[in-house]
């Protein structure tokens, strides 16, 4: 049966995104390929060092023939508002991760705070994608 291999985030600039995820979050590049048959398309994926089997593709917003100009602009607008992509990260020690990220220059808009689901912090990637990093309490399936 199938496996969830890759989640997608739209990004404004793949090199800028790569620098953020690799150098600031400390993630590993899983693939960075541009098959000539695909006309300059670049498949760029990253994930935390401990997760070689799952990745996030940092996807450039395509123009024609994939998206018309209006669609591309809509994606850019939503992306800038932080309303299109989101990623939820988990850690056993949110305070330590928070300090490490701040030390590497990540601007954390929401410092660690107690929530019903654990201790949670939030920030954006350079394109506007919304990232939450939480130290979770066990949430059971209730329905």
């Amino acid at each position: 049966m199938h496996t969830l291999a890759t989640a997608q985030l739209w990004v404004h600039d793949q090199d800028e995104a790569l620098a953020f995820y690799r150098d600031k979050l400390g993630w590993t590049v899983r693939a960075d390929v541009s098959p000539p048959e695909l006309g300059g398309f670049r498949w760029l994926t990253v994930s935390p060092a401990s997760q070689p089997d799952v990745a996030v593709v940092l996807m450039e917003i395509p123009g024609e023939p994939v998206f018309d100009a209006e669609t591309k602009e809509q994606v850019q607008t939503l992306l800038a508002k932080g309303a299109v992509g989101a990623l939820f990260l988990a850690t056993p020690d949110v305070q330590a991760e928070y300090e490490a990220l701040v030390g590497r220059g990540v601007e954390i808009s929401e410092p660690p705070a107690e929530r019903p689901w654990g201790i949670d912090t939030g920030f954006r990637d350079p394109s506007g994608n919304h990232i939450r990093l939480a130290q979770l309490v066990d949430i059971p399936v209730t329905a």
Binding site: M1, H2, T3, L4, A5, T6, A7, Q8, L25, A31, V33, P35, E37, L38, W43, S47, P48, S50, Q51, V54, V56, V57, M59, F67, T71, Q74, V75, T77, L78, K81, A83, V84, G85, A86, L87, F88, L89, A90, T91, E97, P116, W117, L133, A134, L136, I139, P140, V141, T142, A143
Partner: protein, 139 residues
């Protein structure tokens, strides 16, 4: 840190739940409604065997999170398949394609040879774009 959950916007969480569990065969990882957050419902699913990663099927919030124009834009883009995407892999794409088709998943693209393997595509009921691939090489 690790990636725990990726997000897809959905128009209707119950409709999405039925699709992901009954048609795709995924399992519910959490389904929690938080009264202290205005009955916000955190609903996550993932394939069997992948307990440590999930997709949150997120209802599009209105005010005060998003204004009406933003909600409309999210709905429009999601419906076009331009908001969210998830990439699934398999070791036998023809078997999985037939299984999913038999369960009523409508494929926009049947399995085809690509530079990176054999690949097909479908949408969830809200429009989110799924690719299912049997990969080769560096992908």
């Amino acid at each position: 840190m690790k990636i725990a959950t990726t997000q897809l916007w959905v128009f209707d969480q119950d409709e999405a739940l039925a699709f992901y569990t009954e048609k795709l065969g995924m399992e519910v990882r959490s389904d929690v409604t938080m009264p202290e957050l205005g009955d916000f419902r955190w609903l996550t699913v993932s394939p069997p065997g992948q307990e440590d990663i999930a997709i949150v099927l997120m209802a599009i919030p209105g005010e005060p999170v998003f204004d009406a124009a933003t909600v409309e834009l999210i709905r429009d883009l999601t419906g076009k398949g331009a908001a969210g995407a998830v990439f699934l892999t398999t070791d036998d794409i023809h078997r999985d394609y037939e299984t999913l088709k038999a369960r009523g998943v409508e494929f926009s693209e049947p399995p085809e040879e690509r530079p990176y393997g054999i690949d097909c595509g479908f949408r969830d009921p809200s429009g989110n774009h799924f690719r299912l691939s049997q990969l080769s090489g560096n992908f």
